[in-house]
């Protein structure tokens, strides 16, 4: 997103905004006001000042209690809402058995407590999937983790060889909740997986 | 599994409902030559009248055997009041006016009734749940539920009562006379205004019966339900020969069965997949209407030439 934007500091737009509010916005209106101000007769100025002062005090008094409202600590996010998978590519050794393939993914957790993941399945009942070397692994927020998922074909019958949008079933666990979640992939993973399935179940046609 | 009996049953049930509403169109037309386009909305208000009885008047948990007759009465009262009110305040002042004026009034009244219900009936702008009669029975390969039985019984009873009333009773014969020639009938001492009010009231009551059956069958009602049902019922009335009460019922049944069978079987005919299915059922129903009107412009049972229409 920032790539297409105007010349901007590297900051995210979030932090940029709060700066703008304080620093950049204010000068213009004040300049204008100053012009008008000096055009006013002295008595009016005093009266206006007094009125403004009253207004400011009134506003302050009325708004003050709102400021120290208790900021509840934000509860931990649900794991499915902060976890993202990105497909990197197949693991190279092609001489692994034809009925199984290994794929690399980058898993990131956006914020909150660490999330423990367990890959429990893939697109079809005829496929088994597990993460290597351990079936479950933990990802901490801010530090993406690369993992390998092995997908093996247990039986070919009824197995769709060209699924458009294959997915991985993953159980996500953090201090907030345990969720069953599907990560759906398009493009590269779809092609690579379908290559594996062709090799395993329809070797003649490939 | 042979689905024909079930599909026929579906069609006859739908057709009975069309027929009940079509009576209202046909009676009013037969006597005053007015197409009361607000009749669909009278049907709708009948449904809301019945709902009011069930939800706001009867205590919770009233047995349906008690509730249904009371709902019929409540819905009937509302529908009759609105039908008669429409006649008295919207149509009667226009009786001598050109034919287009009452027709446009009817359309305006129809919109007004819809908006009144939508705005003033609680939560009427979306489907409101209606108590259902959902117990099902298997008769051979046909599955029907209590609401369907209610509909069939109601249609038969109403139809027979109406036939008896029109043929045998004094008022009924006065009605026939008015339909034949209002001016002469008046000269013979018939209070035609009273006859017209009675025609509207009977139409309204039949619509309310159909509305209760509708609610019991489909389980919910909304303020727009009258539009499509009214249109279909009007079609049924024309199909059967507008002005003829038996024609209205027959037209309803033919329309319902035609619609159902078209939607059930046409896409099974090779080469016709694109023209079949539920989505095309209205097209076939109206194609049938056009065909019938081409061959018999007066409708299936219509006798009189449409000299005054």
């Amino acid at each position: 997103m920032t790539g297409t934007g105007p010349v901007e500091p590297v900051n995210s737009s979030e932090t940029g905004e709060s700066h703008d509010v304080i620093g950049v916005d204010s000068p213009r209106p004040t300049d204008r006001l100053r012009e008008r101000w000096s055009a006013l007769p002295p008595r009016t100025r005093t009266a206006a000042l007094l009125a403004l002062l009253t207004a400011a005090v009134a506003t302050g008094v009325l708004l003050a209690p709102h400021h120290h409202r208790t900021e509840r600590p934000e509860p931990a996010p649900w794991p499915a809402n902060v976890t993202a998978w990105h497909y990197l590519g197949p693991v190279s050794p092609p001489n692994s058995p034809a009925f199984a393939g290994r794929f690399r993914f980058a898993v990131t957790v956006g914020k909150g407590p660490p999330v423990t993941l367990e890959v429990t399945g893939a697109s079809s009942p005829g496929l088994r999937a597990r993460a290597l070397p351990e079936p479950d692994f933990t990802v901490r927020p801010g530090t993406p983790r690369r993992i390998t998922v092995q997908i093996s074909v247990s039986h070919c019958s009824g197995l769709p060889l060209n699924a458009d949008l294959p997915f991985l079933d993953v159980t996500l666990r953090n201090t907030r909740a345990i969720q069953r979640h599907s990560f759906i992939f398009g493009g590269a993973f779809s092609r690579d997986l379908s290559e594996l399935l062709h090799a395993a179940c329809a070797p003649t046609s490939s | 599994m042979n689905t024909l009996p079930q599909q026929l049953a579906n069609g006859l049930l739908l057709g009975s409902m069309y027929g009940l509403i079509a009576i209202g169109y046909t009676m009013v037309y037969g006597i005053v030559q007015l197409i009361n386009f607000a009749h669909g909305e009278i049907f709708m208000t009948g449904a809301f009248g019945a709902l009011t009885v069930y939800f706001y008047i009867l205590p919770d948990g009233t047995a349906m055997a008690v509730a249904v007759p009371l709902m019929l009465i409540g819905g009937g009262i509302v529908a009759i009041l609105i039908a008669v009110g429409a006649e008295r305040f919207a149509y009667r002042p226009l009786r001598g006016a050109p034919r287009l004026a009452p027709l446009i009034t009817a359309i305006g009244l129809s919109l007004a009734l819809q908006e009144v219900v939508r705005n003033f009936y609680p939560d009427a702008d979306r489907a409101r749940a209606f108590p259902g009669l959902d117990t099902t029975h298997d008769i051979g390969s046909v599955t029907i539920k209590d609401a369907d039985i209610f509909l069939v019984v109601a249609a038969i009873v109403c139809m027979s009562a109406l036939a008896f009333f029109v043929r045998k009773s004094r008022t009924g014969r006065a009605m026939q006379a008015t339909a034949q020639d209002p001016d002469t009938a008046q000269l013979m001492g018939i209070d035609t205004n009273r006859i017209i009010v009675i025609a509207f009231a009977i139409g309204g009551f039949f619509a309310a019966v159909a509305a209760v059956a509708y609610g019991l069958k489909y389980g919910n009602i909304d303020y727009r339900m009258g539009f499509l049902m009214g249109l279909k019922a009007f079609t049924a009335a024309v199909l059967g020969g507008i002005g003829n009460i038996y024609g209205a019922m027959l037209g309803g049944l033919v329309l319902g069965v035609a619609e159902t069978l078209a939607s059930a079987y046409i896409d099974g005919i090779p080469g016709m997949q694109q023209l079949g299915g539920q989505g095309w059922s209205d097209v076939w129903a109206f194609a049938l209407l056009i065909l019938v009107l081409l061959l018999r412009p007066q409708g299936l049972l219509g006798e009189r030439v449409a000299d005054r229409a």
């Binding site: 997103m1 297409t4 995210s12 737009s13 703008d20 509010v21 916005d25 204008r32 006001l33 007769p41 009266a47 206006a48 403004l52 207004a55 506003t59 009325l62 708004l63 509860p75 996010p77 649900w78 499915a80 809402n81 976890t83 998978w85 697109s123 079809s124 009824g158 769709p160 699924a163 458009d164 949008l165 969720q179 069953r180 979640h181 599907s182 990560f183 759906i184 992939f185 398009g186 493009g187 | 599909q7 049930l13 739908l14 702008d125 979306r126 489907a127 959902d134 599955t143 489909y218 389980g219 909304d222 339900m225 499509l228 159902t260 069978l261 059930a264 896409d267 539920q278 989505g279 059922s281």
Partner: protein, 414 residues
């Protein structure tokens, strides 16, 4: 001289009192030309079905946007600008949507629009907003064509650069539903019905294709007319087809009737639908017959989003009608994206609202494209087609008369 002073003082005092009195209230009626000489009211249009069909979810969009506007005004997100909502009812009809779009673009204070609900309505609105160069963000449209062009399957091409959406597409929704139906529900034979509308027909088609692809069988398809109440003939066909699942592409108005008539006829197979069916009204209208029925909906359940908690509380506290569950939070984020874009435009213009509304609208379109912030529903950002980058879906099932999330999914396409 003295009189003018008295007037000035009283004006200022009144202004000050009004401001303090209004304090946390949303719009303080523009105010007088006192010290904030630049105060300006900008309008954000909302178009959704607010009465009749689909209005439960449509009202959720309206009030979701309303809360976003209230929050922005309360927090003075854009100094010197008060936002106002202009909600128009499209009755789920394309022609009405188009005239509403014209009315919004004709409003000289309007900077952008949120909506509509129905993809078919969106098709007629896109052109109007494109000619006015005004941004339109739909929280609910899922038809792929809207952002990726007619040939989205083979050759993606964005038709209108002013159109964005915070909802994901039916390509994903249909595939997710097909995968869930086949793998998790173990359903092999599906009967597919749609309502012939842009959204429903598109979704049903994608579902049918994907269901076949994963290995299932589509035993029969049928189409219904919106507004139909009697589905007796359809139900008999379904019963006779031996299907173990009914998939419906369309809205809750018809599907609630279909599921009721289906179960009443003794066909105990679940009905599975898309986000158009995800509304409390579906369960209310179908009653116990809806038990076990499923939908896919965009996003994750609102109650798992910590940021949405205040939103839901506000929605309930204000007693707003409609159902925020399906798109309320997405409408909030869509509205916030427009507000933030206005802010960026104002900032780029030395803190002043550009006086030329057309220039402002055009800048807002560019800024919405660059959106990148944490919304209620997660990260709000748009890809090169105007689609959200936050592609999440949830399968809900009716359990004891309530929608319950049974499975969630995130897509990462590429």
């Amino acid at each position: 001289m003295r009189r003018s002073m008295v007037i000035l003082t009283s004006v200022l005092a009144t202004g000050a009192l009004t401001l303090t009195a209004c304090g946390s209230r949303d719009d303080n009626g523009g105010g007088d030309s006192g010290d904030n000489g630049d105060s300006k009211t900008l309008t954000i249009g909302v178009d959704a079905p607010l009465s009749g069909e689909n209005s439960t979810t449509g009202l959720g969009i309206q009030y979701g946007a309303q809360i976003a506007v209230d929050d922005a005004n309360k927090n003075k997100l854009v100094p010197g600008v008060t936002f106002k909502l202009k909600a128009l009812d499209d009755k789920a009809q394309p022609a009405t949507g188009q005239s509403n779009a014209t009315s919004i673009t004709g409003d000289k204070t309007a900077v952008g629009a949120v909506g509509p609900l129905n993809s078919g309505v969106a098709q007629t609105m896109q052109q109007v907003f494109a000619s006015a160069n005004m941004v339109q963000i739909s929280p609910a449209n899922t038809n792929p064509e809207l952002t990726q062009g007619k040939n989205w399957q083979t050759d993606k091409k964005r038709p209108y650069k002013t159109y964005f959406r915070t909802a994901t597409t039916d390509e994903l929704q249909g595939s997710f539903a097909a995968g869930y139906a086949y793998n998790k529900l173990k359903k092999k034979k599906v009967f597919v019905v749609d309502d012939k509308q842009t959204y429903g027909a598109g979704l049903a088609k994608i579902f049918a294709e994907q269901f076949k692809k994963v290995g299932g069988k589509v035993v029969q398809t049928d189409h219904v007319n919106t507004g139909t109440k009697d589905f007796g003939s359809l139900v008999t066909k379904i019963k006779n087809s031996g299907a173990d699942l009914l998939y419906y592409g369309g809205q809750y108005d018809e599907s609630a009737l279909i599921t009721k008539q289906l179960k009443d006829a003794g066909v105990k197979i679940p009905l599975f639908g898309g986000d158009g069916m995800f509304a409390s009204t579906y369960i209310e209208a179908a009653g116990a017959s809806s038990e076990g029925d499923l939908v896919t909906a965009i996003g994750v359940p609102a109650d798992t989003l910590p940021a949405a908690k205040t939103f839901i509380e506000t929605y309930k506290a204000k007693g707003y009608k409609g159902d925020y569950g399906a798109y309320g939070a997405y409408a909030y984020d869509a509205t916030t994206a427009i507000i933030k874009a206005v802010k960026a435009a104002v900032d780029a213009n030395d803190g002043k609202v550009p006086s030329d509304i057309n220039a402002l609208r055009s800048t807002v379109v560019d800024e919405v494209q660059k959106s990148d912030f944490e919304g209620l529903t997660g990260k709000v950002a748009f890809d090169q087609y105007g689609d959200t980058t936050n592609k999440q879906l949830t399968v809900y099932q009716v359990e004891k008369g309530e929608w319950k999330a049974v499975e969630t999914g995130t897509a990462e396409l590429n």
